[in-house]
């Protein structure tokens, strides 16, 4: 069955520290991959997406993600976290059609 796994439910980092959020997928073929951010009381905002080609994808707000086919992973990274990055982050995958599968999310807390 197709699935997206985010192994970390909560992550806490200090402001200015680097960040990596993990995402693994299970699909028959390489899906399109996405990272979204959800701030409290808000809908989801797309941070970045991977379709094909360069495995390192740049997104908004200084985020990047690296696709690793051998590990079925699409981890999100940021070199230096800001307090405003505190939010919930969702990894999602989509095959060739319209249906998305979302991970359960990782809630990021940033310490001042």
């Amino acid at each position: 069955a197709q699935s997206v796994t985010q192994p970390d439910i909560h992550i806490t980092v200090s402001e200015g520290a680097s960040l990596e959020l993990r995402c693994n997928y299970s699909y028959g073929a390489t899906p399109y991959l996405f990272w979204y951010v959800q701030s409290p009381g808000q809908g989801l905002q797309l941070l970045l997406k991977y379709f094909s080609g360069d495995t390192l994808v740049q997104g908004i707000k200084g985020f990047e993600a690296e696709f690793k086919r051998s590990q079925s992973s699409f981890n999100l990274r940021k070199p230096s976290v800001h307090w405003s990055d505190a939010a919930e982050y969702f990894c999602a995958a989509r095959g060739g059609t319209y249906k998305y599968i979302f991970g359960t999310g990782t809630r990021l807390k940033v310490l001042a």
Binding site: Y32, G41, G43, F90, F102
Partner: protein, 116 residues
């Protein structure tokens, strides 16, 4: 331009009552999705509309749930005889088209439903 809007933003209802949740997608977007987000869970797909095609209702959890999309624009999600387990945030998203590289979803802020 205007994004996806949803109303109401919060809804508190009593068990057994019916509720209607509304979604106004971005103008011109042909695809529309409804998701349910329960506490500590990811987004659960409920239903998908694409233009005038028959909707994909495969994610609706029971026959108490229904949705329609009038005129290819506004959509209403209806939950009949609400139960406490229906309490969740209901998110709507629209997309310029389904699938392909242009199938990016734009989300509304959601409706938080609380069933007492």
């Amino acid at each position: 331009g205007a994004g996806v809007s949803q109303s109401p933003s919060n809804k508190v209802t009593e068990k057994g009552k019916d509720v209607e949740l509304r979604c106004d997608p971005i103008s011109g977007h042909t695809a529309l999705y409804w998701y349910r987000q329960s506490l500590g869970q990811g987004l659960e797909f409920l239903i998908y509309f694409q233009g005038n095609s028959a909707p994909d209702k495969s994610g609706l959890p029971s026959d108490r749930f229904s949705a329609e999309r009038t005129g290819g624009s506004v959509s209403t999600l209806t939950i009949q005889r609400t139960q406490q387990e229906d309490s969740a945030v209901y998110l709507c998203a629209s997309s310029p088209r389904a699938g392909g590289r242009e199938g990016e979803q734009f989300f509304g802020p959601g409706t938080r439903l609380t069933v007492l």
